[in-house]
Structure formats: structure tokens, C-alpha cells
């Protein structure tokens, strides 16, 4: 191999490795918290996003005031930083959308291989269902 090409390859490889600042996560092997995981149905229209940000689980609790609290565990499957925008929508027991003046997409940054939690509390105690929408963030 041409020595110049060899050096170029090495430089490119080192650049690539330096660019991958992924997150090391440490957690107890036996967790004391008990999560109430729920079954979910996923409608994927963006396979690119799905291959990068994976929903590991969704757990649902009811607050003391009777509000639905949702926590979604999301993992960045890539070694590079990714940004997602997400939105929770809430529905009453009849399946009607609960309107909100504060409805807006939120941005979250996921470092390489990082796992984050998206949390939301329903706007009323009438909410019995929810929907999570995720899109690639504008950069």
C-alpha cells in the first residue's frame, strides 16, 4: 500500500473514532423501583429515525391528583449525537383529543448510545390515553 494512502486511512480512522463520544451508563443490577410497563403499538413512517432512536419501554402511572403520567425510555442506537422532537397528545375515555394551548414539539438531545427518559403529565384527570409523536429534529 502506498505510504501516503496508509497515513490517510489512519488519519480518517482516528477522526472517526474521536467523533464517536458515546455515553457509558452505569445502573444498579437490581432496581428497587417497579415500573408499570404498558404494551404499545408503533406506527413507523420514518425508518431512518427508528434505526437511530429506539423506544425501550413505556411506563404509566397515576398521580395522586388523578393525572396520567407517562415515561418513555428512549435509546440512541448510534455512537453519534442525535436530536429528536417529540409531542404527547392526550385523549379522554371516548377517544377525543384533549385540546391544549401549550401543545408544542420539544427537542431532546441524545448523546451516542445514551438512554434518556421523556416524561409527560396529562393536562386533565380525564385523560385515559395518549399518543407520542417523534420526528427528526431540524438542525
Amino acid at each position: 500500500m502506498n505510504p501516503f494512502l496508509h497515513i490517510l486511512c489512519l488519519t480518517l480512522c482516528s477522526f472517526f473514532l474521536f467523533g464517536c463520544k458515546s455515553v457509558n451508563t452505569i445502573k444498579p443490577s437490581d432496581t428497587l423501583s417497579k415500573k408499570a410497563f404498558i404494551e404499545d403499538v408503533r406506527v413507523v413512517t420514518d425508518p431512518f429515525l427508528q434505526s437511530r432512536a429506539k423506544v425501550l419501554g413505556i411506563n404509566e402511572t397515576l398521580t395522586e391528583g388523578g393525572f396520567l403520567k407517562i415515561q418513555v425510555e428512549l435509546e440512541n442506537l448510534t455512537p453519534t449525537t442525535k436530536h429528536v422532537e417529540y409531542l404527547f397528545e392526550w385523549f379522554d375515555k371516548d377517544g377525543n383529543l384533549i385540546p391544549s394551548t401549550t401543545r408544542a414539539y420539544r427537542v431532546r438531545e441524545l448523546l451516542g448510545r445514551e438512554t434518556i427518559f421523556l416524561q409527560a403529565v396529562s393536562p386533565t384527570d380525564q385523560a385515559s390515553d395518549f399518543r407520542l409523536k417523534m420526528i427528526r429534529a431540524r438542525r
Partner: protein
């Protein structure tokens, strides 16, 4: 290609270019991901997300003994106190406060009084009705607020590189009960980065 057809082709290209340059306006969903983002100002979606963060935090604490109504079975009453704009720009605080009020009202857990507020009644006519009823001996209808909402909005600028600037807007709110203790406090920070030219101050 003949000279005439080349002329026609050039004209057609020029017309299509001019057509494309015409400014177009369109409606966008203010909650959607296509709304405008400026580094130098707080956008409508920033207020929405900030308000949503506060409302979710408040509602998540309702019924924990921290945020309860003084009258059992009735929603708590909140009054709007001073929310200071500590930034260098003009910010309409109502863009934040109104959203919080609307969402708390819709939750049915916390209602806002419009007759007791910092700097005077928000609704003078409602205040007058209350006073008239009190004077005519038809009972005092003025329920004192259980909580008062106060806070501040701050801004901080930092330079990331020669061309990129970062602007952070810090929203701080507190709910104080009748004994003067802040029973709920929260902070939300919006941070945006962009080209230096995008900053308006």
C-alpha cells in the same frame, strides 16, 4: 437549436425564475415543527413549551398535600403576582402566564382570580361587582387566593464561535401559599444557537 427557439427558451427560464422569486406566505401550525426559530427572541413555541413544563410540574404535585385547596372539594385559587422581565428586550409576560392559567383552569384543579392581582384587579368590573355585592349585604364573594404566582424571566448570551451565538432564556416561577412559603418552584431554560446575524440585540 434555432436562434428563435433559444430566445423563447431563455424567456421561459427567466419567467419561471421570476415566478419562483415571488414572496409566498403560508399558515403554519404554531405547535408544529415548522414554526420559525430565532436566536434573538423567545418564539411562540418557547412560551408553549415553558408553560407546558410548569403546568405538568404543578399538576403532578396536585393532591400531594403540597398543592391543595383551602376549601375541600373545590379547586384551589391562584392569583398572579409580579413576574419580572429581567431581559433587555420587551417580553409580553402574558404569553407565558395566560397559557399556564388556561391549562390550570382546564385541569379543574386550580383557578385564577381576576380581581386580586399584583398592581390591581385584572378585571375592574368584576371587582366592582364584588364590592357592590359586599356593600349591599348580599354576602362576601371574594375568596382569598390560596396561592400566588410570581417569578422572573432572564436571558444570557454566550458566544460559541466567531459566527455562532448561544442565547438562553431562563423562566423561573414560584407558587407561594398564604403563609408566605414557596410551596412550588421551578425553572425552565430554553437554549438556542445560531448565526451571529440572527441575534437581534
Amino acid at each position: 437549436m434555432t436562434k428563435r427557439s433559444l430566445t423563447y427558451f431563455s424567456l421561459a427560464v427567466m419567467i419561471s425564475c421570476l415566478w419562483g422569486c415571488a414572496s409566498k406566505s403560508a399558515y403554519v401550525d404554531p405547535a408544529g415543527p415548522n414554526s420559525a426559530v430565532n436566536v434573538g427572541q423567545i418564539n411562540v413555541q418557547d412560551f408553549a413549551v415553558a408553560a407546558d413544563t410548569f403546568v405538568q410540574d404543578i399538576l403532578g404535585r396536585v393532591g400531594r398535600g403540597q398543592l391543595t385547596s383551602s376549601e375541600a372539594g373545590k379547586p384551589a385559587i391562584m392569583a398572579i403576582s409580579r413576574i419580572t422581565n429581567k431581559t433587555l428586550y420587551h417580553i409580553d409576560i402574558d404569553q407565558l402566564v395566560k397559557k399556564i392559567r388556561v391549562e390550570l383552569n382546564r385541569s379543574g384543579k386550580i383557578l385564577t382570580t381576576t380581581t386580586v392581582a399584583y398592581g390591581g384587579a385584572e378585571d375592574p368590573l368584576a371587582k366592582e361587582v364584588q364590592e357592590t355585592l359586599a356593600l349591599s349585604g348580599q354576602g362576601v364573594v371574594n375568596r382569598l387566593p390560596d396561592y400566588t404566582l410570581s417569578g422572573a424571566i432572564l436571558a444570557q448570551e454566550a458566544r460559541k464561535s466567531r459566527l455562532t451565538t448561544q442565547a438562553s432564556y431562563i423562566f423561573q416561577l414560584s407558587l407561594t401559599d398564604r403563609s408566605g412559603i414557596a410551596v412550588w418552584e421551578s425553572e425552565y431554560i430554553v437554549t438556542k444557537q445560531g448565526r451571529k446575524s440572527a441575534v437581534t440585540w
